[in-house]
Symmetry: C2
Subunit: 479 residues, 2 copies
């Protein structure tokens, strides 16, 4: 009964996907609105997910030689303006500091929308020799972009992210870095968040302001819309030239280094919600879940050995590296079940006097509701295997959603019908022209997602101009 | 020779302490100035120290039930102004955002100088019942305060910190939290940073704007000045009332919770530099050092087994949890020694063909320069013991500096003479009046550091007004 009551609080996905999403964000206590318009608060449970993302991703960055730094949060307008494309891309959404204490500033300062400029300014002052290259930097911070409409995790005026910035001796090395870091995001989405990705390159229209090339991983949400989940940019030496970043090369001549940047953000949390959750609330992929298993003793007051056994099981699990929680509060069983379903805890462990007599406990999966009796002996292996199984089946379900809703189409009318119908990704040929890309947006209501790395190697007609061409491209409606 | 050259780059402590400090900050590559006035950059090596501080401190916070959150970085002026004392304390140093994109904002937004107001505003919207209490929150972030003069780590317009904010059902619980968190800072300074502290309470003049009581840990630097290294504040229900934060109590009546906040910052890095370093550069306490041991193979080209053995030693040490680095670059031995001395790496391991023949390697301590031959067998235990010994002797030296330069004085003239001479902490009696505190500042040039928790329990004369009184107080010149 308590469970039904709790579930009633969430709008169903079918009724209103957007409201369902917001309900989960707020009722699972991931995020709350603040009284600063467009700014959200990451609450303990939401922040704990972000901490897990940071911890795991940061370890990957460090394995490939990246180090963290902290750059100033405010950027002088003149510095921001040195590279024209970047500032034109971001100017409309910059927040400006104009007063320090009680005095107006001589030059206004931008709250960083991204930090290419600051990194370049720093490299300008510290880089001297090829011996210092590559410089492989990253920072974890928040950025501000003055968005008009905002949604938790997906689009807010402040969001939390990491921004990697690197410079290299050669273009080849920088390109390899760009690809390596995109691979890092792809692996993270798939192996940690159980979100299958399409890897590809952005069109010139969709690439990052100032970049020579932008690579992206695109995920499909349960409503068949696309979420860009991580991007990696190759700049060539464009910023180096604009910010006068130089080094003495092996040939003893002054050279410009080649640059990359790459970022992923709290938007990933929005992505995993819309990939895995259901009408009972959040469903968390096990590898990122702050609590992987919640243990609920049953009728423990009748039999003190129940609570003792649960405690000893949790000790075993903790020692095995499972993140656990005990709920022996006086709330009803129904309330507890609904609560941890809402919060997306992957496994619920129940143990009562009868289980105890049999030497078993009961494991309940959040994703399928499936219950299994498991011997208390060997519980750690059973739970670890179950967590992996849950990851695999979440991934498989998301992959099926992606595959079932990716369509090979030939004409813009077909793409339009898809977009106006159930949605999804349309794979078509593309002649490569901006005109056809813009026409597709106008006629079919979709934007290009990426030119996938995996190309069919066939030829066909551009769905807009009909020209024979080879390039495959993905279209979709994006968050 | 290379070593001498490198050492020449640092101003000696005796010649100019301030310049010595700045030289270390920059030449050990901890920090660099940016082109934004008053803002600094934390470089990889400096940020790695901050990461270790964060990791260890965060684990302590979590042990006592605290969770991390993220609050908006911008605070509407009207919200900031609800509690008068706080805004009066911070208004002169707030940076204001007045434009979002191309449009002026209706209300200007403060870059957070501290976040009591945002936490209160959040609690106002989410707190309902005593069952939700205590709420034990913390956030790691940067804050901006528009300081007029700045110095790396000690005072800059942006700095990185953690700010804990908690609310409690009763005043007793909140007071206990305030004391617990001060104890956490004290333990951290002493056990991790090897910085002995004086624990105490701030006078009303020196306490945090809006706090009912501020507790502090004060450390003594090598120049005998004081560094406030962590503070913990008790607010009573003052902010709760100002921000209308209420809950339904056990008696079913609406009540105001009692509140605390507590913070420590990148200033700790400045503190550990000025506590332990010397004229050869940085000296890092081992528990915080990004690299605890650097291994330098000697004449490895003559004997490939040297490098193999060093690698195998490092594997053993890594597995034992020691943070190591191998430098087998082609730089000279002199250059390497100077480099890692400058960077304060606690232990240098040298191994050459002769050592290898004897089954030994040589461990060199950064703090004392002492060299010891150690058997390669059992190297992990030897290194771990050495790291602990270094910690202990850094702590002992700092404690001696504190003890030798803390003076029990009776008159303001004595305090003045101390301050104008070698400096130090003066312990005197104090009548408790603001007048005498202000007079001490004017006449002797010192400010009150704290009313120490450890009181002598004697009576004596206030050094300014001569009144008989019991309270012990510390005076000093502070950063």
């Amino acid at each position: 009964m308590a469970q039904e009551k709790k579930v009633e609080q969430i709008t169903s996905m079918e009724t209103d996907f957007a409201q369902w999403y917001t309900d989960i964000c707020r009722k699972a206590e991931l995020v709350e609105y603040s009284s600063v318009k467009g700014f959200t608060i990451l609450r303990p449970y939401g922040y704990a997910i972000w901490e897990n993302i940071q911890r795991l991703m940061d370890a990957e960055f460090k394995k490939t030689g990246h180090t963290n730094v902290a750059m100033p949060v405010l950027i002088p307008e003149s510095l921001l303006k040195k590279e024209g494309e970047l500032v034109n891309g971001f100017a409309p959404e910059v927040a400006w500091v104009t007063m320090g204490g009680s005095e107006p500033l001589e030059e206004r300062l931008a709250f960083r929308p991204t930090s290419e400029t600051m990194f370049c300014d720093h490299w300008h002052s510290v880089l001297q020799s090829y011996r210092q290259l590559p410089m492989l930097y990253n920072q974890w911070c928040s950025v501000v972009r003055w968005e008009k409409t905002t949604r938790p995790f997906l689009r807010s005026r402040e969001f939390w992210w990491q921004e990697g910035h690197t410079i290299h001796e050669t273009a080849e090395e920088a390109r390899a870095e760009t690809e390596q870091q995109l691979g890092c995001y792809a692996d993270f989405c798939e192996n940690v968040l159980a979100m299958p990705v399409v890897r590809g390159r952005k069109t010139d229209k969709e690439k990052f302001a100032g970049a020579e090339a932008t690579y992206t991983v695109e995920c499909m949400m349960k409503d068949h819309k696309a979420l860009q989940s991580g991007t990696s940019h190759y700049f060539g030496d464009k910023f180096s030239r604009a910010y006068d970043v130089t080094f003495t090369g092996r040939d003893n001549k002054l050279q410009y280094p080649f640059q990359t940047s790459w970022g992923a953000s709290t938007r990933l949390i929005g992505g995993l919600i819309m990939t895995h959750s259901d009408d009972n609330g959040l469903v968390l992929p096990p590898r990122i879940a702050p609590i992987q298993l919640v243990a609920i003793p049953i009728a423990a007051h009748k039999n003190p050995a129940v609570l003792d056994t649960v405690r000893s099981i949790l000790e075993t699990l903790d020692a095995a590296g499972v993140r656990t929680k005990l709920d022996d509060s006086d709330q009803s069983m129904g309330w507890k079940c609904a609560e941890y379903e809402m919060r997306g805890v992957p496994v619920r462990l129940e143990l009562g006097p009868r289980d105890l007599a049999e030497g078993n406990c009961c494991l309940v999966r959040r994703d399928t509701g499936e219950k299994t009796a498991v011997s208390i002996e060997g519980i750690a292996d059973a739970v670890k295997k179950l967590l992996d199984d849950i990851h695999d089946s979440l991934y498989a379900a998301a992959k099926k959603n992606l595959d079932d809703n990716t369509f090979d189409l030939n004409t813009w009318e077909e793409v339009r019908d898809m977009a106006q119908g159930r949605g999804g990704f349309a794979r078509t040929k593309w002649c490569g022209s901006l005109e056809c890309e813009l026409a597709m947006k106008e006629k079919a209501g979709v934007s290009s997602r990426c030119i996938p790395f995996t190309q069919r190697g066939t030829t066909g007609k551009c769905p807009v101009c009909g020209k024979e061409c080879e390039t495959d491209i993905y279209w979709g409606v994006a968050y």
